[in-house]
Symmetry: C2
Subunit: 470 residues, 2 copies
């Protein structure tokens, strides 16, 4: 039987993509940085069909590249350019929400559910599914879990990993691991699910997950705050967090980032004139309506201004103003791309090391690329700052030319983060883009353990080859 | 070199226990249910010494049984009675708190730190380390993590697993995995730490952990509530949780349990006359002092009484009254032991299935052992109800005789929990006591995966043999 006949037999002819035009979107990543041609794209409609595709591809000696909403930034969901012959296994048709239980604060969603759809299902049940990030309208649950996605709410509710109660996984040999329980406590043996969460499809294919919901938020207050330095920002963080207010967002943004947003954003209005070197977006929330949230925020910001941690602050006076603050943050990546070529990183450090990290990086980048412009923006409350180096405004070349000139900023910044006890890969995953950093920075014993686990679970190396492991 | 010389060389002669009297406490578990004789007890004082003991025992073909505060209820920290020759590796001297960072909301503690000591260190920094359970004055961090301990606060802050930022582990071959970072976000490869957390020492020895702290609680309110049924209790749970009050404890207790506490407890005073069939202990908290906590609880309980979910309720009027409610809960296990022989379980079900679980079990136990008395108490907000069957008050025999008569209640109750999508092992771990339940109830594919991982990480089977895997 030919490959296409085999796949058609497994998932139905209409769910096998073979034409170049149909396959094209699956052969390039979100940012256009990684390209790899699959032999075909299979779109199974059930867990059993996923298992069938995995089993049959295995029998034909073909590799599997699982794909979801394909919004990843690390090239994890496209075949490696020089990899072995591979079939893309798209989970997009596995998009049922199998169960929502408000009393239980849990829901069960298939891997192909769009994150926003799951948020909406939770809201309809009077609950909150708290994961939130820019790509949520396209990204899918399977990808969210396979990359252990972060976002702007991890400060309060953790990464994707922390929201999982149970998992259903198709293993590399096509068997189905059914661990889809909705229990809060289960210590019956090794917590294998955590290998698949963040495993980027290299150990198996997540097909469904039982997820936690939390009480819906009744009140939210946001502010846009001008601060004199990253150190002041961190003192402000400590003040708000220490006050006991329920902090659900704390973003640190260099003025340069806000200037790019102001320049290129469509319909963005800055809440303050851009006169300070750094800005913070802060959001606190309460699930109970009697919590005096506004006063809490006013008190904290008033004390911060008095102590010099902040120089100015605007509290959103309406839902529209609040939405505007977060739209600036969400639209920033696009604005930054439109502004000028850049090279970026995905680092994290202990929260208390953020000022040291930013200051050291700024000094070293300035020394080596005096013409470059450093952009620093990120989830400071998680210690997860995304540093980029932009080409000068009058850069004559294209992105490739800037990457050739400044590409070395990435290992340099990674090394600074690691030297401060941090990570070179905070929330985007390894995929293809950070394999070299794994080789450089990952502890050799940890790396060897990873290889041992990979060999044990996927001895033939069929699952998403060329990803994660260096 | 003899075993004792070898160990003395590794950890110093004073830290090798060889006399029968010295070894005796390490040869029996907390409840006296499991006994196993180690060849010796080694008490290393550093991670390097732990590694040395593991390496040298390996070279001599000896097994390792890691031990901490030895308060476990599953027999995980004593050698298996018919197991291979083993050395108990006690982490008790590895008891430094290496770092406390208030600004970072993190601390680094060695495995031998007593849980209460870590709680105190967090409190001193103005933070909260939120794990809490009866044995906290004796239990150690290493055991807490190796069993992924739960307790009465998991409802709000999760199990022990959720509080870990990084881990240091001595692997079965004596190498040290140094993953002790304090970062909140790290997606640099497989989350191996989660195999060691809850691994009960069968995959390696946890020697230190970076742990999360949370904002200190400024206000706490507790109530003791009489409810007509488990179903009413769950409606009350949903009401309080759904109201957005920060629920940090929700314990469901059958009247029989409260009667045993009243009868055998030293200095316990029941907040209400024991006239209702079920009681709930509820606690809400706030980290910010301006949260109107008392009103929140009064409102919720008032509405609950009005709707019939509760028949009576007492809100603690003082810290002493609050402490009394929780002392009843903490002293309960002792009171229950003093009352009469019993056979118990450690099950969990989805929270919404708690009423069905309790009612079904009550019916089936009554049918089979009409003379038995069912005790049901547990963390209902986690779906984790501990069911026991007590001998009748006039039982003439000893515990062994009752176990012989009613021992089959455990598989029966486990089967009910599993049929409702629950677990036969919620928070105590598998150890020796639940290996038979693993064989019966664990999904065969999951079990095979566990064996694959065990063989990959500990190919010779040297780490804590006779535990966890059936």
């Amino acid at each position: 039987m030919s490959l296409l006949d085999m796949l058609a037999d497994a998932v139905g002819p209409r769910n096998v993509l073979r034409d170049a035009n149909d396959i094209a979107p699956y052969a390039v990543d979100w940012r256009g940085a990684y390209r790899g041609q699959p032999l075909a794209v299979a779109r199974p409609g059930s867990t059993a069909e996923v298992a069938e595709v995995v089993r049959r591809c295995g029998a034909m000696g073909l590799s599997i590249v699982p794909a979801g909403g394909r919004t990843g930034l690390a090239g994890g969901a496209v075949p490696a350019a020089n990899g072995p012959p591979a079939v893309v296994l798209s989970l997009e048709r596995l998009n049922r929400i199998r169960n929502v239980d408000a009393r239980d604060f849990s829901l069960v969603a298939e891997a192909g559910c769009v994150v926003q759809t799951v948020q909406a299902a939770a809201a309809e049940a009077g609950r909150l599914f708290p994961i939130q990030w820019g790509a949520q309208g396209t990204a899918q649950i399977g990808g969210m879990l396979s990359t252990n996605a972060g976002g702007i709410r991890t400060l309060r509710w953790g990464n994707a990993r922390e929201l999982v109660l149970g998992l259903e996984v198709v293993l590399p040999d096509g068997r189905v691991l059914d661990d889809l329980r909705r229990v809060r406590k289960d210590n019956s043996g090794y917590a294998m699910r955590h290998l698949f969460i963040g495993g980027e499809g290299t150990l198996g294919v997540i097909t469904a997950a039982a997820l936690r919901m939390v009480p819906a938020l009744k009140r939210v207050e946001s502010a846009f705050v001008a601060v004199p330095s990253p150190d002041a920002a961190l003192s402000l963080f400590s003040r708000v967090m220490g006050s006991g207010a329920e902090l659900i967002g704390f973003e640190l943004c260099a003025r340069f980032c806000m200037e790019m947003a102001a320049k290129h954003g469509v319909g963005l209005r800055m809440p303050l004139p851009l006169e300070a070197p750094w800005y913070v977006m802060v959001e606190i929330a309460a699930a109970h309506e009697s919590v005096p949230l506004r006063e809490m925020l006013e008190d904290a910001l008033g004390a911060a201004i008095e102590s010099g941690e902040a120089v100015d602050a605007v509290i959103a006076e309406s839902e529209a103003q609040r939405a505007m603050i977060w739209k600036i943050r969400e639209d920033y990546p696009d604005c930054s791309r439109r502004d000028s070529p850049s090279v970026g990183t995905d680092t994290s450090v202990p929260v208390s090391a953020v000022p040291d990290f930013v200051n050291t990086a700024e000094r070293e980048l300035k020394a080596r690329w005096p013409e470059g412009r450093m952009a620093a923006i990120g989830h400071a409350g998680d210690g997860n700052i995304h540093l980029s180096l932009h080409a000068p405004a009058d850069w004559p070349g294209d992105r490739a030319a800037w990457v050739e000139r400044a590409g070395e900023m990435e290992p340099l910044v990674n090394a600074i983060a690691v030297s401060l006890g941090g990570s070179f890969s905070a929330e985007h995953g390894i995929g293809q883009s950070k394999r070299h950093a794994m080789a450089t920075h990952k502890d050799p014993i940890a790396l060897e353990l990873m290889r041992t686990l990979k060999a044990a679970l996927d001895p033939v190396g069929r699952m998403n080859p060329g990803k994660v492991l260096p």
